[in-house]
C-alpha cells in the first residue's frame, strides 16, 4: 500500500489504463474525502453527496482514456466533480442561493506566512461564507481549502488564470464586507 502511495496520480492512471483496473480503488480513496467536501461546498446537499461522488468516480473511470496528459489529474477530477455538482444544483441563478457549509478544517501552505494568511482567511471564511456568491465561493474554497494553484483552478473552472486571481480578490473583499456587517450587527 505504501508503495502505491508514492505513485503519482498520472502514473496510477497509466497503470489502470494498461489493465490494472483494481488500482482504481486507490485513486478513489485518494480523492474520496477531498471531493466529498468540495461537492458539499457547491451543492450543500448532504444526503446527495455520496451519490454525486459515486457518479463522479464512475465518470472518471469511463472517461479515463480521454484524460489529457498535459493536465493534472487532480484538476481533471475536480472539473468532473464541479460539472456533476453544477448539474445537480442547476442554473447559475439557483447557485446564488446555495449556501456554503461551515465545517472546513483542512489544508496548509508551504511557508509560514502563507500558512498564517490562509489560517486567518479560513477562520474568516468559516463564519462569513454563507452569503457569498458561488462564483467567489468556489475559487476561494479551491484556493484556501483544496490548496489549488491559480493554474489548477483555471483548469477546474475553465476560466482564464487572470480571472481566477480577480475572483479570489473580489471574493476576499466580499468576505471582509460580510464579516464586517456580521460583527457590526
Amino acid at each position: 500500500m505504501r508503495e502505491l502511495d508514492k505513485i503519482t496520480d498520472e502514473d496510477l492512471v497509466k497503470m489502470i489504463m494498461s489493465g490494472k483496473k483494481a488500482l482504481f480503488y486507490h485513486l478513489v480513496t485518494r480523492y474520496e474525502l477531498k471531493l466529498k467536501r468540495y461537492i458539499f461546498t457547491i451543492t450543500n446537499r448532504k444526503n446527495e453527496v455520496d451519490d454525486i461522488l459515486q457518479s463522479v468516480f464512475l465518470k472518471v473511470y469511463k472517461n479515463l482514456p480521454t484524460f489529457n496528459k498535459e493536465m493534472k489529474f487532480s484538476s481533471w477530477i475536480y472539473r468532473i466533480a464541479h460539472n456533476e455538482s453544477i448539474n445537480l444544483i442547476g442554473s447559475s441563478f439557483i447557485q446564488k442561493f446555495v449556501s456554503m457549509p461551515e465545517w472546513f478544517d483542512f489544508g496548509t501552505r508551504e511557508t509560514i506566512e502563507e500558512k498564517m494568511d490562509d489560517d486567518i482567511m479560513k477562520e474568516k471564511l468559516k463564519g462569513c461564507v454563507d452569503q457569498l456568491d458561488l462564483k467567489y465561493k468556489e475559487p476561494l474554497t479551491l484556493f484556501y481549502y483544496e490548496e489549488k494553484t491559480y493554474e489548477e483552478i483555471s483548469d477546474i473552472l475553465r476560466i482564464p488564470t487572470r480571472n481566477v486571481g480577480v475572483l479570489i480578490h473580489r471574493g476576499k473583499l466580499q468576505v471582509k464586507k460580510i464579516c464586517y456587517e456580521k460583527i457590526s450587527r
Binding site: 489504463m17 483496473k21 483494481a22 482504481f24 480503488y25 478513489v28 480513496t29 474520496e32 466529498k36 455520496d50 461522488l53 459515486q54 468516480f57 464512475l58 473511470y61 469511463k62 472517461n63 479515463l64 482514456p65 480521454t66 489529457n68 483555471s154 475553465r158 476560466i159 482564464p160
Partner: protein
Amino acid sequence: MKKSVADAVSEKIKKGEVTMRSQISIWAEKLRLNGSMVVLVALLIVVTGFVLYWINTNNDLLFGGYGRPGLFSFVQSFPYIFVVIFILLFLLLTHIFRAFDFSYKKPFFLILVLVMAGVLILGWISIKQPMGQRLYQQEGRIFRMGMMNNSNAITGIVVKINENGVLVGNEDDESVDISINSDTHFPFGHPKVGDQIRSVGTWKGNVFAALGIRVFDETNPSILGPGMMQGQGQGQGRGMMWNR
C-alpha cells in the same frame, strides 16, 4: 453496513457494469466536435458571401445618394434573414468553441474576433470567385434575396424607350412605366432597349418616378447577371443580382 463509495465503485467496475470508453467513441466525439466547427465556419463564410454579394450588387443604393427613397429601398430589401442566420451560427460557434481547452487558456474574445475577421475576408473572397458568384446568384433567387421591386425600387429589362421615360418588363412579366425628368441620375449611362436596369424613386399613381437609374451591362465587373439564373447558371450575361 453501508458500503463506502470506493467499494461501491470498485464493485461496479469488477462486475463490468462500468467500462472505459472505446477509442472509436472518443474519435467519433472528436470528429463530431471538429467537424461541426468546420461546417459552422463554412456556413458562416457562405452566409457572409450572400450578404456581401447583395451589397456588392446593390451598392448603388448604398452610395447613390438618392435620399430617403434610396435609403428606404435599401432598408426594405436588405437580406436581414442572413444577418440573423449569421448571428445564430456565430453564437453556436462560440458555444462549441468553449468545449475546447484553448477557450480559456488563450484570449477567447481575440480568437473570436480573428475568426469573425477571417470569415468576413473569406466571404469577400468567395464573392469574387465564379463558383461563389454562381452559388449566390442561384441560391439568392431561392431566398428571394434583394427583392428590389419594392415601394422605392424597380428592376427589370427595358422593352421600350419613350420621350419621358422607359417601359420595363419585370420578373413577374408585368410592364412598368418609369418616368424620367431632367433631375434623374444616370450613374452608369443611359439605358437602351434590352438593358437590365434598376431604378430608385417613388410611385406616382401607376407611374414610377425615377430619381436614378442604374444600367447593368457587360462592363459591370465581378457580377454575373440574370443569365446565370437561367438554365442552371449557364448564361453569360452580367448585371444586377436578379431578385427571384
